[in-house]
């Protein structure tokens, strides 16, 4: 086989600005939107359906939206709306809760879809040991029922509930602290 110099045929110049590529938008934002849906309370299987709906509903309006961050915010709004629509019975409290969740998300997850926050959490979880680690592994890692986990660590269900509350608050403080440290570097 002989070798010949390679030259790719020139493409005709484009006269119109490129339209947003829907596939690229899904690829770029799907993880962030899914995490957001999970973080505001959608169970995993519901979150997947809502994720698809979010993109389908949003596609027609995305060309007016603009920057990457604005697209992400628009998708979150759409996702929140779809989630809330399925929970009308939850009323004003749910709306209020979602507003709080949105503010928290914008503060520490919106920029990177939650990557940095998860990394910090991962470090914090590694610091847990003994019963605390056993409880989060069983309850969140293996998704075992609360009664099962309570039996596993020798607690009443109410005791486990309190322990989980304390663990979540502790992890939250640890994550905030780590993100604060990261910001100062």
């Amino acid at each position: 086989m002989t070798t010949t110099p390679l030259q790719r045929p020139a493409r005709p110049p484009s006269m119109t600005p490129p339209a947003p590529d829907p596939e690229a938008i899904v690829r770029r934002h799907q993880t962030g939107v899914w995490r957001y849906l999970r973080a505001i309370g959608a169970p995993a299987d519901v979150a997947e359906d809502l994720l698809q709906e979010t993109f389908l509903v949003a596609f027609d309006k995305l060309h007016d939206v603009g920057s990457d961050a604005a697209v992400a915010a628009f998708l979150r709004r759409t996702a929140r709306h779809l989630w809330l629509r399925g929970r009308r019975d939850a009323g004003r409290r749910e709306q209020l809760l979602l507003e709080h969740a949105e503010r928290a998300w914008v503060a520490d997850c919106a920029a990177d879809g939650g990557d940095r926050w998860l990394d910090a959490l991962r470090d914090c979880v590694q610091r847990l040991d003994g019963r605390s680690r056993q409880v989060v592994d069983a309850f969140y890692g293996e998704r075992r029922a609360r009664a099962d986990v309570a039996r596993l660590v020798g607690l009443e269900e109410n005791g486990l509930k309190t322990l989980l509350q304390r663990l979540r608050a502790g992890l939250r403080r640890c994550v905030d602290q780590r993100l604060g440290e990261g910001g100062e570097r």
């Binding site: 086989m1 596939e23 995490r35 973080a39 309370g41 997947e48 698809q52 389908l56 926050w117 998704r143």
Partner: protein
């Protein structure tokens, strides 16, 4: 009631706690469990396409006002969603089914009016005539759905040996009467065919052998086929085919299929690469072919690839002396590329930095490139899998740490110190890692111990008859890897205590040509790893009858490989017979399997597959 009033009523703390609870439910599920954001690109794009078709049909018919149009659109979505839900079966992630953007032909007259470039058609009750006519009417058909009265083998008498459907990649024959095994076998000969559904047809178990022999087939939907067995399912999964089956009345069967699917998840859902050996073959490929393997082809083939907008993956293998920087430059312009594999002996690797422009590249495999600067890897923001055959220096390792979504990394050769290699610990999403064991010092092992998502780890050393086994640092840090299910330590030397430090989650362990253990390892292997399915123990000088008996009593052990060991006697044969979970015993130069023992196994354990090599 406004926000302030809620706070005044003491709701604020409640709400703040619940916000944290919901977020932790997601985040800890992702950090500790196996929850991951699904890839919905395909599902969304196909549903989007269905929306557009639906909207177009509404506009064309011109009936009704905007409200009716919207209603039809919504109804279309509901139908799509319902079909996707209804078609979902065991062995398949939800929401990935293609949407029904099919054009329906229920009469021969309707069929004759189909545009020749139609790509998805549903034929209703048109039998052989419809099937034959469609191949001629729509030669570029990609997706075919048959309903009602279907065709039989006679249609291929008319269509000829090549079948007539040169670009078909999906056939749904669900519930189609008259469709039998041999018809299906003929249909799947279409070299583009990747997906078929045969539920409710007149097919039998015999059709499975045809599926096994069809490498390009990637997904088979059996519907509720009552003859499908778990053994068949496993064979197909091992061959890289996703199996979808529904047994509403047999949840146990469905659960086993789901477990098998999970076990073989690495093999399935991989795209099929169409092999091409000449430029003419490449020119003749339909534009729908998304993955192409070029064999012994270089720059000229690259030029032909440049115009293929639907190309997603390219592989260069074999001898391609003219593969030059020009090819890399053209590949670098194919921004749609998601996979690239190059395994060309004596390839210089010149121009690799052009590949840094491939922002959508998810899999990169450079198995034969010469060494060179690799900092461009840092630009591959979408990279999920990297396999690099050339020795990797600190620049490559540093660049890879910036690929934040990297899940698979295989670098069998490294030119970096322990502290530099330890940067793999920054790749927090790694699920699969292969590093040269001889380069891994204590810092690297400690760093690997922080990769909580790691599922598979290979720290094999280079085989060396002269230098012997390479002593590994203490493996205690690996004990924190709760997701690790596969560990390979070929040609290493480890301490007996190290086995006790390994995570109990292991399902596969290879201690091939591994030294340093003693006979106590047998009971440790049995007791510490309750999920151990596969164990490789080549040349284990420490293994004696008692140790092997202990191993054979491991509760989940299915595959055992023992070679080159003269310490074991025929006295272990009863323990082999008693190991009811054991399905495959692979031996090589094994003194304990004489003719009488082989006969005993044949008689007592006909289900046990024994591979015996004597050379």
């Amino acid at each position: 009631m406004n926000d302030e009033e809620h706070i005044a009523e003491g709701h604020a703390e409640d709400i703040a706690e619940e916000v944290v609870e919901r977020r932790m439910d997601w985040a800890l599920g992702e950090v500790l469990g196996d929850e991951r954001a699904p890839d919905v690109v395909m599902a969304v794009m196909t549903r989007r396409a269905a929306q557009l078709v639906e909207a177009k049909q509404v506009r064309v018919t011109g009936r009704g006002g905007p409200l009716l149009n919207a209603a039809v659109l919504v109804l279309g979505l509901v139908v799509v969603a319902w079909v996707m839900f209804a078609q979902r079966g065991v062995g398949e992630a939800g929401g990935q089914d293609p949407a029904p953007d099919f054009v329906v032909a229920a009469t021969m007259a309707e069929l004759a009016e189909l545009p020749t470039d139609t790509r998805a058609v549903e034929l209703r009750d048109l039998g052989n005539d419809g099937f034959v006519a469609l191949a001629k009417q729509c030669p570029t058909l990609e997706r075919l759905r048959l309903r009602g009265r279907g065709p039989d083998l006679r249609s291929f008498d008319v269509l000829g040996e090549d079948g007539g459907y040169g670009e078909l990649f999906e056939a749904d024959l669900t519930g189609c009467s008259g469709v039998q095994d041999v018809f299906v076998a003929k249909l799947i000969q279409a070299k583009t065919m990747t997906s078929i559904a045969i539920g409710g047809t007149d097919t039998s178990a015999a059709v499975v052998q045809f599926f096994e022999m069809t490498p390009q087939l990637r997904r088979i939907d059996f519907g509720e086929a009552p003859w499908l067995t778990l053994t068949m399912v496993e064979q197909l999964l091992m061959g890289g085919k996703r199996v979808v089956v529904r047994r509403p009345d047999d949840p146990t069967f469905e659960r086993h299929v789901a477990e098998l699917t999970k076990r073989y998840y690495r093999q399935i859902d991989l795209p099929y690469y169409r092999p091409v050996t000449t430029l003419d073959e490449l020119r003749a490929l339909p534009p729908s072919v998304a993955h192409i393997e070029l064999r012994d082809l270089g720059d000229q083939a690259t030029l032909l690839l440049a115009g293929r907008e639907r190309l997603r993956g390219v592989a260069y293998i074999g001898d391609a002396p003219d593969l030059s920087e020009g090819s890399m430059r053209i590949l670098g312009e194919m921004s749609q590329l998601e996979e690239l594999r190059i395994k060309v002996p004596k390839w210089s690797g010149n121009g690799l930095d052009h590949l840094g422009a491939l922002v959508n590249l998810r899999k990169l495999s450079l198995l034969s490139a010469g060494a060179g600067p690799m900092a461009w890897l840092a630009n591959l923001a979408a990279l999920r899998e990297a396999r690099l055959g050339s020795p990797c220096g600190p620049d490559a390792i540093g660049a890879l740490t910036r690929c934040r979504d990297l899940e698979v990394l295989e670098i069998p050769e490294v030119l970096a110190g322990d502290d530099e290699l330890a940067r793999v610990g920054e790749m927090a999403k790694l699920r699969r890692l292969r590093l040269p064991g001889e380069q891994c010092g204590p810092q690297t092992i400690a760093a690997i111990g922080r990769l909580e998502r790691l599922e598979s780890l290979d720290l094999s050393c280079k085989r060396s008859e002269v230098a012997g086994r390479h002593p590994m640092p203490r493996l205690r840090p690996l004990g924190k890897l709760h997701s690790l299910n596969s560990l390979t330590l070929r040609w290493t030397e480890i301490e007996p205590d190290d086995l006790l430090a390994l995570p109990v989650s292991l399902a596969g362990l290879s201690l091939t040509w591994c030294s340093g253990l003693d006979a106590s390892a047998g009971t440790v292997l049995r007791d510490r790893f309750p999920r151990l399915l596969t164990l490789e123990l080549n040349e284990p000088e420490w293994l004696d009858d008692d140790a092997l008996r202990a191993i054979l009593a491991a509760p989940a052990l299915e595959h055992l490989s023992i070679t080159n060991n003269s310490n074991i006697t025929t006295a272990v044969v009863p323990a082999i017979v008693a190991a009811k979970n054991l399905r495959h015993l692979r031996t090589w130069r094994a003194t304990f399997l004489d003719d009488a023992a082989a006969e005993t196994l044949r008689r007592e354990r006909p289900d046990l597959e024994v591979t015996l090599k004597v050379w």
